[in-house]
């Protein structure tokens, strides 16, 4: 395997990075055995990046995603999300961090059945500690639904929407609280290839307007839409490079957000 490209300095977390990981390890105790899911992983993700994390099952990919998503804390090492050190947070603080900072998109959409698209999108705001945002819930949710092109489907329940439309509702839900990061776990796994393309294009448009998107997938075709690829194997990052897409963009030097980096 190639050496991790552009490995960050192994000292302090990078200031200004959306995600900054230093020597992350995660060990699970399964009976007598210690399972080393992550071994000394370090990387930075800057604002506006479109990163795909790839790896076979059992590679530690899911563990890494759970850490980035503030669903779990590392066994050792430093992880900061939007400047907040995750290791020092308790459960409630993690929940608040997820609410403010991270928008999740899942393979199975995870929309509430029997609940309208608008109310599904509004859901994260009901857990917001900011009363002003709660008060503007309808307005914000309607805005995000329009942004993903579903302004005319607000009152539809999930069963009345196609798979691609449901995933767009889920993306609007991820965006509604203006997060720093969208974390998408196999977002096209349940969609046909044409619809997958639509969704990936939507993600790309979001990164072009400054949103950071981290995509976890095992499909190379899907990963190819990102601009940077992190490959994980046996708990280590074995590859960190720009994708063909990313290289192409870099070589034609189209105007891009200054914070975007490419390996």
């Amino acid at each position: 395997m190639t050496d991790p490209a552009g490995a960050p300095p192994a000292s302090e977390p990078a200031p200004g990075a959306v995600i900054s990981a230093r020597h992350l390890t995660k060990t699970y105790q399964l009976g007598e055995h210690a399972v080393h899911a992550l071994r000394d992983v370090s990387f930075d993700i800057q604002r506006g990046e479109f990163v795909a994390i790839m790896g076979p099952s059992g590679s530690g990919k899911s563990t890494l995603m759970n850490l980035i998503g503030a669903l779990d804390t590392p066994t050792s090492g430093e992880l900061s999300i939007n400047g907040a050190a995750v290791s020092s947070l308790d459960k409630d603080q993690l929940a608040d961090l997820r609410n403010r900072t991270i928008g999740f998109v899942f393979q199975q959409f995870n929309l509430l059945a029997r609940t309208s698209a608008l109310n599904n999108v509004k859901l994260p705001l009901s857990y917001s500690r900011d009363p002003a945002k709660q008060a503007r819930g309808d307005e914000l949710a309607a805005q995000k639904l329009q942004d993903v092109g579903l302004g005319n489907r607000m009152d539809h329940v999930p069963s009345q929407l196609s798979g691609g439309q449901q995933q767009r509702v889920a993306i609007a839900r991820a965006l509604v609280n203006s997060p720093s990061l969208i974390l998408a776990d196999e977002p096209t796994g349940a969609l046909d290839s044409e619809t997958s393309l639509e969704i990936m294009n939507l993600f790309r448009r979001l990164t072009e307007s400054g949103m950071t998107v981290v995509l976890v997938t095992h499909e190379p075709d899907v990963a190819a839409h990102a601009r940077r690829l992190l490959r994980v194997r046996d708990g280590r990052i074995v590859e960190d490079r720009p994708t063909a897409e990313g290289s192409l963009r870099a070589s034609v030097s189209t105007p891009r957000p200054p914070s975007s980096r490419c390996g």
Binding site: N66, G69, L71, D72, K91, D92, A95, D96, R98, N99, R100, G103, F104, F106, Q108, N110, L112, L123, P124, Y127, S128, R173, N177
Partner: protein, 391 residues
Amino acid sequence: MLRSVLTTLGIIIGVASVIVMSAIGSGASKQIEDQISSLGTNQLTIFPGSANVGGRQGGFGSAPPLTEKDLRAVRDGVTGVMAASGNLNGNANVVIGNANWSTQVQGVGSEIEQVREWSVVKGRFFDAREAASGAKVAVLGDTVANELFGAGDPVGATVRINNAPFQVLGVLAKKGQAGGRDQDDVVMVPISTARSRLVGRLGAPDQIGSLLVKVDPRYNITEVQADIERVLRERRRIGADKDNNFIIRNFAEFLETRNQAAQTLGLLLAATAAISLVVGGIGIMNIMLVSVTERTREIGLRMAIGARGGDILGQFLTEAVLLCLVGGLIGLTLGAGVSFMVAKLLSWPMHISPVIVLVAIAASASVGVVFGFVPARRAARLDPIEALRYE
């Protein structure tokens, strides 16, 4: 939906039974209380008991009758007796013009007004002189006055009781039902008149059927009762080793005992209802546990997008409480309906107290909190990663 209704059935039945039981129970005790106050408090009734003649125990009332002399001895010889009256009852047909009405005729003394706390609303009661002299005067109960005179004024009219003319002096205040009998269906005449004209064959020329005594509330009724017993034993020459051949009864106390029995029964039924609430609560807990399992992914999602454990706890606790409250309200409606029907069909007195309604609502909400807590805590403690992965 159907599942929720079935789940709350326990609560519905529990609350409905609490309402029905308490409505019927407190209706009964309210009726008893009304009877107590209509009979008059601090009142003792004395009547002859059974006689023992040569080893043969006679029936009730077979002992020598009470007489006017006994009455005077009790009224004048016992401190704490405010008023006393004899009472001799018979039945008679009362006629005026074309109208006639069969009713109970009570021969009483003039002090009966005080003894029974029962006054006239029209005209006047007969006085002591009239009561002693056998005057042919009568005071009508409300029902009799209505039956014979309708809206007309009976005072001053002459009615025929068992073919003898009686002048109507007054009409008694309405008293209502007691023990299933209309107390207002009565005509009162002087006891001396009753003795000579209405009641045949007496054991003694100055017999009184029973003796009604009003005890001054400033005195202890039990002590006064003991004094009366002593006086009567002396007068009737009952040896120290013999039983009384008369009976002194405190009706209010008797009814009070019945009231307590009714309340005990009510408590017992309330306990049964409480058990059914607990059973209902277990049903709620069961369905909530199933619901938490079924909605594991939803819980994981909510946690992922920022719900704290406390938010999830609150959500499921609220659902459990709402489920129970809806069940409670349905039960309340059902219970009120059934009570109303029972009251209507069996003409049983019914009383739903606002306190019981509040208690029922509070109880069903508490059931929600208590039995919703375990499932809600289980939901709140889920690990979001595991929950999201749950199939």
